[in-house]
């Protein structure tokens, strides 16, 4: 929470939703704490002089973020569960296979199906 406070001035609501931003900070904290390894980040894009985010961009970002949350809720249980495992279970596909007893091919295709569905909903 303290990190969020200190980084709050870096948050740009036209480029990410609040939940995405919190997710990325929590993830990096987790890597620092548990894995004791550095996290290489992509090169910053140069956007030119920092302008105040446009209200319309912020609105679009909020709408997209709500839409994504709805789309995730609408996913069939199995697909949703696999996505959750891939993100929060800290598991590779091989480890998910071991835990769920599903063959690796099935996991890959279900995950792909889930992602395709999400992409279609977001179009």
């Amino acid at each position: 929470m303290a990190t969020l406070w200190h980084k709050a001035h870096l948050f740009d609501p036209s480029r990410a939703s609040v939940s995405t931003w919190i997710f990325t900070i929590a993830r990096n904290k987790n890597i620092d704490a548990l894995r004791k390894q550095r996290r290489p980040e992509p090169e910053e894009l140069t956007w030119g002089p920092e302008a105040e985010p446009e209200a319309s961009d912020v609105l679009v970002m909020q709408q997209e973020s709500d839409q994504l949350s709805q789309a995730m809720k609408a996913l069939p249980g199995q697909q949703r569960e696999l996505i959750e495992k891939a993100y929060f279970g800290d598991l590779s596909h091989g480890q998910i296979a071991a835990e769920t007893g599903l063959p690796l091919g099935t996991i890959k295709s279900r995950l792909r199906l889930a992602l395709t569905k999400l992409r279609q909903t977001m179009k």
Binding site: T20, N30, R35, P42, S69, I83, A86
Partner: protein
């Protein structure tokens, strides 16, 4: 750092989710971050995966915090932020990689591994190994298979193997099923950033060792 030529070989969804979720070893994160610095398409995809992570986080049930949590957080806030890491200076490689080399390609400490091929291992966590490979124009990395996953990102020049041609910005994702012999294209020496989570399997290790020992 955008490359001029079009990138045709991208990262898989599996790797992008792993990068977003933070479940990849450091060496793989380095390859992903370097590729994202060169490839707008994968950068956008990575941001989408962060958004999925955000949506999952939002959907989690809330938990009650202990009574002391607020006081502790306020104390942490009062202490001020940690000093930010200094930004690397301009280099001929993308920033995330430059931070590991400690500069540009001229600062790399190469070691010969035979047949004119040189490598430099970069310091990461032990779960996987990251190395820079220097393959002279026309030279080949000996024929090998993989026990785990090997990511090879081209930084300069181009190479070909049994599957396709890989040029600057392209990344090849190789797994147990791929057995290949990458050859640098004639004209330019090829420099790659590679990460492996298991040792490679050379098909003919005796000639390779002999070659590197005797510089044949």
């Amino acid at each position: 750092m955008n490359t001029m030529n079009k990138i045709t070989h991208h990262l898989s969804d599996q790797l992008l989710i792993g990068y977003s979720a933070g479940s990849l070893p450091e060496a793989f994160n380095l390859v992903v971050a370097t590729h994202l610095s060169m490839c707008d398409e994968c950068r956008a995809a990575a941001q989408s995966f962060d958004s999925i992570g955000g949506a999952l986080l939002q959907a989690q049930p809330t938990e009650n915090l202990g009574d002391a949590a607020l006081a502790k957080t306020m104390a942490l806030i009062a202490k001020g932020p940690k000093a930010a890491a200094s930004k690397p200076v301009g280099s001929d490689v993308p920033d995330p990689l430059s931070a590991y080399i400690g500069g540009g390609l001229n600062d790399v400490k190469w070691r010969p591994i035979g047949l004119g091929v040189r490598q430099a291992v970069l310091k990461t966590s032990h779960a996987a190994t990251a190395r820079l490979l220097y393959i002279p124009s026309g030279a080949a990395v000996p024929d090998h298979g993989h026990r785990g996953t090997e990511l090879t990102l081209v930084l300069q020049g181009a190479f070909r193997d049994e599957t396709a041609r890989f040029a600057a910005g392209d990344v090849e994702v190789a797994d147990e099923d791929l057995h290949h012999k990458p050859v640098a294209e004639i004209g330019h020496d090829c420099i790659c950033l590679a990460a492996t989570d298991a040792p490679l399997r050379f098909s003919a290790w005796i000639p390779r060792v002999a070659q590197s020992l005797f510089r044949l």
